[in-house]
């Protein structure tokens, strides 16, 4: 078989089961592709020995029959996941040299199912960013370029390395994490599929924490079927994560019938932002028409507190981050600053954290510290949690009214140039998450699906938001949208 790296998970699974190829062959093809793709900055720690050994073990299982769906599938793993004995540093200087003594629940589950780890993927430092420009490793780069323009573009963030690697066919799929849009925005920027599950669907144990009430991991894949297959392997209750839900995990792939007749799709008027580019508006209208043609009922809905989602997020996420990142103190793991004569423990903390955290992480930790500090806790943090409750009620109301899924743009624009936002104030960068952040605040499942290209040839995606715990239904609507959109474009190889 040719072009083994271009296979989807489903295609590779079926081909391996038929004996047409082996995990060893696909893994080796991916490792070769990775070696030639340094310019993308996607893989930041390479684990070819682990991959080769896992592929050999997977081939033995496949030969013996009854191997799980993910058996032998080569993956990239976001650097936020702790992987035993392999550097796991959340793209931060403060975790330089850190090699966990344990394996995250999600990577354990994937490896138990026979998946193969090719290496660790670039990301924004501690998952704080929307362009992968805050990484200690340097930028990840989008494999897509504007037609006739050599400008290097961002793959989005924070899961920028994951998005770049999947779009460039360096791996069959990748893990991502999503606190405010970090799976869906990079997926939309690179023409791939990215799913953030319902809060509690997958375990957070062993994933470096950013904002614990919002963080959720998910699959980043070449199509919707692969997202369903990979989510099935990632999901499930974990006694080590008290917020993971103890409910059965269905076979999500089995939900993909493509039949959405009679489903009700909501179009929220508040997502029609002022100054929205015409190409995004058209993409949204086209997607709405596709779902209608497939037999869904389209209804206009209102989510009145949408406007307040970003400001609420920028209180809650930094507050939780300031608490979660307090553990990086130079005592138990990672970087410790060189101390001057006479420095005590406070100087050790302050110098270590100043050296170890980049500017965006420092900014968010300090904003979080401020909103939690005495005298401001009620005015900022408690008010944001009240607004969060109202945002969730908006969704509860439309779902109670019979809406099955909500269609919105995934991002306010196509991918922008690396460095283009350097001089903008931080809030301009935060606006990237305007369509995705509501979903994290309400704990809902959301998926980005590529459905078109802009005038410059860049991919653009739409987002579908589902009812809690009904990822199967959501994936099926996404599958229908994917079929209608027929997005098959691939970036031209320049790296």
């Amino acid at each position: 078989m040719s072009d083994l790296t271009k296979l989807t998970i489903a295609q590779a699974r079926d081909a391996m089961r038929k004996g047409e190829t082996t995990s060893a062959e696909i893994t080796s093809a991916c490792l070769t592709a990775i070696e030639g793709a340094d310019a993308l900055g996607a893989f930041v720690h390479h684990t070819p020995e682990i991959a080769t050994a896992q592929a050999a073990a997977a081939d033995t299982r496949i030969k013996a029959g009854d191997a799980p769906d993910m058996c032998g599938i080569p993956l990239g793993i976001k650097d936020l996941f702790c992987t035993k004995g392999v550097p796991s540093q959340a793209a931060s200087r403060i975790l330089e040299g850190f090699k966990p003594e344990y394996e995250s629940t999600i990577t354990s589950q994937l490896f138990d199912a026979g998946a193969v780890m090719l290496g660790k993927l670039n990301m924004d430092e501690f998952a704080m960013g929307s362009s992968n420009e805050t990484s200690v490793y340097g930028n990840a780069v989008n494999p897509w370029k504007r037609a006739g323009d050599d400008t290097a573009l961002t793959p989005g963030g924070s899961s920028g390395g994951s998005a770049s690697a999947v779009a460039a066919d360096l791996c069959l799929a990748a893990t991502g994490t999503d606190t405010g849009g970090s799976i869906r925005q990079p997926a939309a920027f690179t023409g791939i599929t990215g799913l953030k599950p319902t809060y509690g669907r997958v375990s957070r144990w062993g994933i470096v924490a950013f904002a614990s009430s919002l963080d959720q991991a998910g699959p980043m894949t070449k199509d919707v079927r692969d997202a369903a297959i990979m989510l099935t392997a990632m999901a499930g209750h974990d006694p080590l994560d008290s917020t993971s839900a103890d409910i059965p995990v269905p076979d999500f792939e089995a939900a993909l019938t493509g039949d959405i007749r009679g489903k009700t799709i909501g179009i929220p008027k508040e997502y029609r932002m002022e100054g929205m580019p015409a190409e995004i508006e058209k993409l949204w209208e086209d997607g709405t028409a596709m779902l209608k043609d497939a037999g869904a009922k389209i209804v206009d809905i209102s989510l009145p507190h949408t406007k307040y989602a970003l400001p609420a997020y920028y209180v809650i996420a930094p507050a939780e981050a300031s608490s979660n990142l307090a553990r990086y103190d130079g005592v138990r793991f990672g970087h410790r600053a060189k101390l001057a004569h006479g420095d005590g423990i406070t100087e050790m903390y302050e110098k270590t954290r100043a050296e170890g955290f980049g500017p965006e992480v420092q900014r968010r930790v300090m904003v979080g510290t401020y909103v939690l500090s005495a005298g401001f806790y009620d005015a900022y943090y408690n008010r944001a949690r009240r607004v969060r409750a109202l945002i969730k009620q908006d969704f509860d109301r439309v779902f109670a009214d019979g809406v099955d899924a909500i269609l919105t743009p995934a991002t306010p624009s196509a991918a922008f140039g690396l460095g283009e936002m350097t001089n903008a104030d931080p809030i301009q960068m935060y606006l990237n998450d305007v369509f995705t952040v509501t979903v994290n605040l309400a704990g809902l499942p959301g998926i980005a699906v590529p459905t078109g290209q802009n005038a410059q040839g860049l991919p653009m995606g739409l987002q579908l938001i589902g009812r809690p715990w009904e990822e199967g239904d959501l994936l099926n609507v996404a599958y229908s949208l994917e079929q209608s959109a027929g997005f098959v474009a691939k970036p031209a190889k320049w790296w």
């Binding site: 850190f98 090699k99 966990p100 003594e101 319902t198 809060y199 509690g200 009430s213 006694p239 008290s242 917020t243 839900a245 307040y308 400001p311 609420a312 920028y314 209180v315 300031s322 307090a326 103190d329 130079g330 005592v331 138990r332 793991f333 990672g334 410790r336 101390l339 420095d343 005590g344 423990i345 100087e347 903390y349 302050e350 110098k351 954290r353 100043a354 955290f357 420092q362 900014r363 930790v365 300090m366 904003v367 510290t369 401020y370 909103v371 900022y380 008010r383 944001a384 949690r385 009240r386 607004v387 969060r388 409750a389 109202l390 969730k392 104030d425 931080p426 809030i427 605040l441 704990g443």
Partner: protein
Amino acid sequence: MSIDTETARRVAKLARIKVEDDALPALASEFSAILGFIEQLNEVDVEGVEPMTSVTPQRLKRRADVVTDGNQQAAVLKNAPDAREGFFAVPKVVE
């Protein structure tokens, strides 16, 4: 709300992040911009709304209060920047 350099200094201290004096004015103005953005939340009527504590309506699971793990001193200390005689080592804490 506008944040002055003294407040920026105090927040940096609380967060245990060393910020040099000459970087404080820029930091203060960044804080002011972000807090200005956040202050939109004051437009929302939150009267009678309980602050969200859990996004999914589930009770946290309980387990028996027993030791389930341990005897991993070497693994626990493995990544420490400075470990001695089975302990984490830090600069002098008490004068």
